[in-house]
Amino acid sequence: MTLLDVKDLRVSFGETRAVDGLSFSLERGRVLGLVGESGCGKSVTSLAVMGLLNGATTSGEIWFDGQELLGSDRRAVRRLRGDRLAMIFQDPLSSLNPYYPVGFQIAEAYRAHRRTSRKQARATVVRMLDRVGIPEAERRARDYPHQFSGGMRQRVMIAMALCLEPELIIADEPTTALDVTVQAQILALLDTLRAEYGTAVLLITHDLGVVAGTADEVVVMYGGRAVERGEVHALFEDPREPYTRRLLAAVPRIDRPVPDRLETL
């Protein structure tokens, strides 16, 4: 069953066309990897789905669970946000408000959509922090973002995104700012939780390796369009488009003999 269906999405900022006729769809509980080089329009796409684009001209259709988002009134989209549609950003430090404890920020997300007591929200927060692997969750909930390490901050962001058990998580380069070992931790965590909650994930990244390990389907973007899309195994084994092929060849891989020269675009 299709959860998210993006049809002919076009976004432009004045003269620059950031997204130029992008279409893709995502089934419930599945992971869609959106890959592409810097500036190809990945983030803009994610913000368009979340309804968080400011000052852009947008056209096309975005269907979420049978509801068209671009044409809906802002209030309705806002109610979806955080509740059924959650997002994880690239830089967890700047994405958390330095003035409030993390527990408060998670509880805020929770209480924005569920009428509960403070105490209940608190319990949920502690449970979620514990769930994403933050030790001493009860105490750490009162700490401020700058008191956490990069990986821990990203765990907080994940806890925040998952506390309402959304149907779709958009993760925009969730591990780009992290080290490989921490990246492995976060990807593993995301994978476990996704399976547990049955959440669909739109995983945005420029790292083909990450997509290869996580996604069910892949969309390769270039210049605001999808140049190729397909099931992950098929796409990696037999890329149709020369762009995809070259992109794959440009990555220095540790599992193959060292080539004399790397392939370039």
Partner: protein
């Protein structure tokens, strides 16, 4: 933290001491000889010498300075014998012209200055911050452009110009307000308000402009922060997003700047009080300068500097309290 506070206060005291020494030197090597002025119309050189001794002006300047500083902490006595005058702690000197310890003058003038400063501050915060927030939220709109244009105009208005135009229009032409006079808030609240209104507006016009611009810049900056985007992504209503997530970081710089401005306000009060003829600390300074009453100038300068310096200390502490990153340190 306590150690830090003590250190900071120590540094503040050192700055004050240097300011005190500089001011002291400048005024005491000035061509105006207080003894000569005290001598009056019929004066002879011998009498000047006598007076110099009486006022303690016959000792070397460093010694005079030392007694001055000692007087601040321990009080001091001017002259000897039956004409001696007690100047109790914190003795900021003794006005040669009014025969009153300077701190008494300051204390008697403070209510007027405080009335002007506090009222103006309330006014400019309300107007300035309010206009700045609205402008930031409606960035690029008609309101934004008008408010920012007005802010620039406010910043460009010299206080005495505003003051005189207000007085001409409100008092002379339209007669809606009386001439300002020094009325105590408790004696006559209505008269106090009527008298203070023009000084408030004159002073606030300048600062409201600055605060509107500051608020706008800061709020626009805050609205572009990633965490504001996160707050929106949570599905929070826009009002909550602005109030809780964007305004909070905006407030920190405003509060700190406000602290510093309030500390430095005595300077602005000088012109306001002079124009409206209100007997505040600023007017005291202006009059003392006009009559070369060095102890009063020195006392007011020191007092005003102390205000600035301690306001800065408070601002630093406030900054730490407001910003958890500084309050808690980075782990």
């Amino acid at each position: 933290m306590i150690v830090y506070l003590l250190k900071r206060l120590g540094a503040a005291a050192a700055i004050l001491l240097v300011i005190c020494a500089l001011t002291f030197t400048i005024f005491y090597i000035a061509p105006d000889d207080p003894a000569q002025k005290a001598c009056g119309k019929a004066c002879t050189p011998e009498r000047i010498e006598q007076i110099r001794g009486q006022l303690g002006l016959d000792t070397p300047i460093p010694e005079q300075f030392a007694s001055y500083v000692r007087g601040i902490f321990a009080g001091r006595t001017y002259g000897t014998g039956p004409t001696a005058v007690e100047c109790p702690f914190p003795c900021l000197g003794f006005s040669f012209q009014t025969n009153v310890p300077v701190q008494e003058l300051l204390v008697s003038r403070l209510p007027v200055s405080a009335s002007i400063a506090v009222g103006a501050a309330v006014l400019w915060l309300l107007v300035g911050v309010g206009a700045g927030v609205l402008a930031a939220l409606r960035k690029g709109s008609w309101w934004d452009r008008t408010a920012m244009g007005a802010a620039l105009g406010g910043i460009s208005l010299p206080i005495y110009l505003t003051a005189l135009v207000l007085q001409y229009l409100l008092v002379v032409v339209f007669e809606v307000l009386p001439y300002p006079r020094a009325v105590g808030l408790l004696e006559d609240p209505a008269g106090w308000f009527a008298s203070m209104l023009m000084p408030w507006i004159a002073l606030a016009a300048l600062y409201a402009g600055m605060y509107a611009r500051l608020t706008r810049t800061e709020l626009i900056g805050a609205l572009n922060q990633n965490f504001v985007r996160t707050a929106r992504a949570k599905g929070l209503p826009e009002r909550t997003v602005v109030r809780r997530h964007a305004l909070r970081p905006t407030l920190t710089p405003i509060v700190t700047v406000f602290g510093m401005d309030l500390g430095a306000l005595l300077g602005g009060a000088l012109i306001t009080e002079s124009v409206f003829g209100l007997p505040g600390v600023g007017k005291l300074a202006a009059d003392a300068i006009n009559s070369s009453d060095q102890p009063v100038i020195l006392g007011v300068t020191l007092f005003a500097a102390a205000f600035i310096v301690f306001a800065n200390v408070i601002v630093d502490l406030l900054y730490a309290v407001l910003d958890p990153r500084i309050r808690l340190g980075t782990s």
